[in-house]
């Protein structure tokens, strides 16, 4: 399937999307191999979407067994899969979504070791790591940068969700929507992304009050606080006893980042409380939204069409809104 003419079946199956993004974008997707790490709710949705869209090959890595609670957002799993390897339970159902896509599974996390990861990454076109901890994301991102491979990470914490991406120097075509409709025009764009490590050093000093507000800093810092908590405690918050520490971390992060004080000096306690209680849980609608946004962005990057996320998206299921901050990028 790597090259050549599109078959009648492909034309029929992909008709409605080729009309949106064009045949060249479809061709690029068809030629792409994507590495997805960890199969929980967000990855389930992401994989469904990119496989339906017609990528060439999916490599799926997960070492864990299906747990009962995985059935809550994991529609690749059934009751009698509990106890099996996640990737083994899911493989045939993923293949079933689109017989034109090749699916390869890896039932252990050894590929993530420094040496192995570099060679794995060299064999793929894009890396997507879900539900992973911050420190290891930083490490894996550095390896991807070395191999010049676009890097995505995403996940959900209860009603909150995030996507971070590092697309290195990314070139894409942006349809110029201001031009008159009957003279379609496109602009060639180039944008440079920072590493996750650099992104985390971002300061908000330059943003106006209005700009700051628009980015919904409360949910941004709630997520960044979860990341730091996890780095310190080697686990996510799980109960009322963690509320105080998470609040402290969140407020320290707000202050370090020099966020406009007229907008926020502390992350609302009610949000910290609910995040503490729900961080380890996933909810299907939130996974569908974050997995939808994540898959859409992966496809835009592969197609080199339309501006991708730059570079940190947060979704807030309390309102249904999502915003994107530029962390350490112009």
């Amino acid at each position: 399937m790597a090259s050549g003419e599109f078959t009648e079946e492909e034309q029929g199956r992909y008709d409605r999307q080729i009309r949106l993004w064009g045949i060249e974008a479809q061709q690029r997707m068809r030629n792409a191999t994507i590495l997805v790490v960890r199969l929980r709710g967000t990855a389930t949705e992401t994989i469904k979407n990119i496989v339906l869209a017609g990528i060439g090959k999916l490599i799926l890595v997960d070492a864990d067994d299906v747990k009962e609670e995985d059935l809550g957002a994991g529609f690749f799993f059934r009751d009698d899969d509990v106890g099996k390897k996640r990737v083994d339970a899911a493989k045939a159902r993923i293949e079933n979504l689109n017989p034109l896509v090749t699916v390869e599974t890896v039932p252990n996390f050894n590929v993530l070791n420094n040496q192995n990861f570099e060679s794995t990454v060299n064999g793929v076109d894009l890396v997507c790591i879900t539900e992973w901890d911050r420190d290891d994301l930083v490490r894996l991102n550095i390896i991807c940068r070395r191999s010049r491979k676009p890097f995505y990470s995403g996940g959900t914490y209860g009603l909150l969700g995030y996507i971070f991406c590092d697309l290195l120097d990314h070139n894409y075509i942006s349809p110029d929507r201001s031009s008159p409709k009957d003279v379609p025009k496109s602009i060639q764009m180039k944008v440079s992304y920072p590493s996750l490590q650099d992104a985390l050093r971002h300061r908000w000093s330059l943003l106006s009050k209005r700009q700051t507000k628009e980015l919904n800093p409360a949910s941004v810092f709630a997520i960044l606080a979860l990341w730091r908590f996890q780095s310190i405690q080697k686990r996510l918050p799980i109960g009322a006893q963690d509320v105080g520490e998470l609040q402290q971390i969140a407020d320290a992060l707000v202050s370090e980042a020099d966020v406009n004080k007229q907008v926020i000096t502390t992350v609302p306690h009610s949000l910290i409380e609910s995040v503490t209680m729900t961080a380890v849980h996933e909810f299907s609608p939130v996974c569908a939204i974050v997995g939808g946004l994540l898959a859409q962005d992966i496809l835009k990057t592969l197609a080199a069409r339309e501006p991708p996320i730059a570079n940190f998206l947060t979704f807030d299921g309390n309102t249904g809104g999502a915003s994107v901050c530029k962390l350490s990028m112009s």
Binding site: E5, Q11, R13, Y14, D15, R16, Q17, I18, R19, L20, G22, I23, Q27, E45, K48, N49, L52, A53, G54, K67, E68, E69, L71, A73, F75, D79, V82, L97, N98, P99, G158, L159, R177, K181, D182, S186, E214, A240, V275, M277, T278, H281, F283, S284, P285, A288, I289, G291, G292, L293, A295, Q296, L299, E306, F315, N318, T319, G320, G321, V324
Partner: protein, 715 residues
Amino acid sequence: MPTTTTTTVAGRTKHAKAILGDELHKKLGETKVLVVGAGGIGCELIKTLVLSGFIDITLLDLDTIDLSNLNRQFLFRTTHIKKPKSLIAASVASTFNPLVDITPIQDNIMDSEKYHVDWFRGFDIVLNALDNLEARKYVGRMCVAGGVKMVESGTAGYLGQVQPIVGGVTECFECMEKPKGGKTYPVCTIRSTPSLPIHCVVWSKSYLMGQLFGVDEDAGAELDEAEKQGENAEEIANLRKEAESFAQVRAAIRSGGPAARMIFDKIFNTDIKRLLSMSDMWNHRASPVPLDFDRIMQGENENGNGSKQKQTVALKDQKKLTTKENLELFVSSVSALSARLSSTETVIEFDKDDDDTLNFVTAASNLRSLAYGIPQKTKWEVKEMAGNIIPAIATTNAIIAGLIVLQGVNLIASSFSPPTSTPTSPSPSPLSSLRNIHIQLKPSVPLSAITTSRPNPACGICRDIYTVVRCDPLRATLRDVVQGVLGLSPPPISEFTIFASSPSAPSATRILADPDWEDNLDRTLGSVNVRCGMFVNVVHEEGVWETISVGIGGLPPDAGCYGGNANRNRNAEGEGEGEGIPWLMLPDPLPRLVVRKEEKEKSGGTNTPLPPPPVERASLKRGLGEDDDIVVLDSNDNHSADAHPPAAKRRKTSSNPPPSTPPERQHPARAGFSSPSKKRKLEEDGLVLMESAEELLDDISEDINGGEGDVIVID
């Protein structure tokens, strides 16, 4: 009915319970949900519902599965093609959670005799996953009329929107007038002076196909109307001659002989020469060139375009045809269609998935474009233009479906306050507030969440007082129903104008009675053609009271309707009607008459309503003539009709300019108002209401006519 014997692993609901709280999670399982549509949004929605904790789901869809659905409707496989979407979606999604009980219905939701107000009232929440404006309006009206909460949604390409609706509390689907769907063109542009590829496509699809392969109908009416509208008289006369000469070619097609050459000579040579003879027409525009069959076949007319051109990656249907290839396609498609007409079929209409008709429309519109010096289009492009195809992807649908469920949970949570949290489990984050959500192109805010707006006080749909009367229409009289609903206290029935309307064809409003015409009051509903599922609108002549819309429902099976004795007529006060008519069940309590807002404001809080300005009666009774001089692109849609509110509604606003309403709520006439708040908010967010979904989005095809004009169309 949920089967009590079904079990699943205990941990399945652990995460959802932790996030929602046990009470709210339990409530989801008890909620009766109706999902309308099992297509792009519907498949995603069903999946997310069954995983979130919803159990009792009814899924309705009319459609069957097609290959082009498979890029996004992930519950369907190649082996399901041509099977009903509702059935397959229900059975596949049930495997995701053995607890769920999905009832699939393959049917048209707009069947008002089956899917009437009372039927909708059997659900706690309605979730729309529809792809057309009529059905959304229908469901929207039924939910407002039945007091059922709903979430409306739509997607088009990368964009989408979700709108929770609670009648009387938030804007309803029609508080903001929907832009008119389906672009229209003047007859003369299509028939004699095309200047864009779309004009030639419309001509081939809507005119030529019909003339050659459709019902033999008199095209004169359309031209009569165009003449009345003041289009060029000489041109019209000319078009009349052209129409008359179709009789011959129609006969040739049906005789089974080779007809392509004859058709070609008539439409691309003789007709064009006749047009050229009207020299005035071509003073200010390039004149067309008659085509010559033999010369094209010999390879003339090729001017560099076509297959000699360098082709980049392309699908078969995306290749540009040479003029000769176009003519060959014309000949082969005409003979394919002729063969069908002389064997089994009597009429062939354009269908984008019927390859013979698509080939014909492609070839004919390109040949016409050649004659007029207009750029040609590929078969791929023509399919999109003629078939009103809206691009659609899985991701947008998945995001929108997730947002629908979150808003649905909000609606359920808002009618239910969980007991205060126990000390051991602090209340998890409540999904507390209703938001209208848009997927937008603004990079910093890809999902905008706007607080829902209040209803538009001038809305012709959600400001009415709704009620339901169950009766036997063959026995209940109009007076029984209207007087019954008004109760025994004033105002008298003679102050009201009474209309009948059908929720699926709102433009077909009929007057049944008014203060000067009471002949029908003592006739039965049946004898004035009011059936179950229809509405009787009771409009106060002087505009003092809000309109009462009475949904007519059938008697329940246990009522012993035909002279039975159960369920006697009752009313709230029990004022002597207790032993009333056995074939009529009035609502209990009766609807309260509400003074119209404008009236309240005019009277400045006193109880002496001022008389409203006189009503222009003539305009009320005029038929709702549609613009007959235009060609509606999609012959299946009635969108142009939707631009006209029912007469009763129009009147309500036009006869009552509300000078005292606050400026931002002022809507001088319903026909002209644009969104009070939504449009402004959209603009603030950098989103402009588009005429069609593709306007901003699509640079492949310049001129598709999206079925729906709304920002958001659907899949």
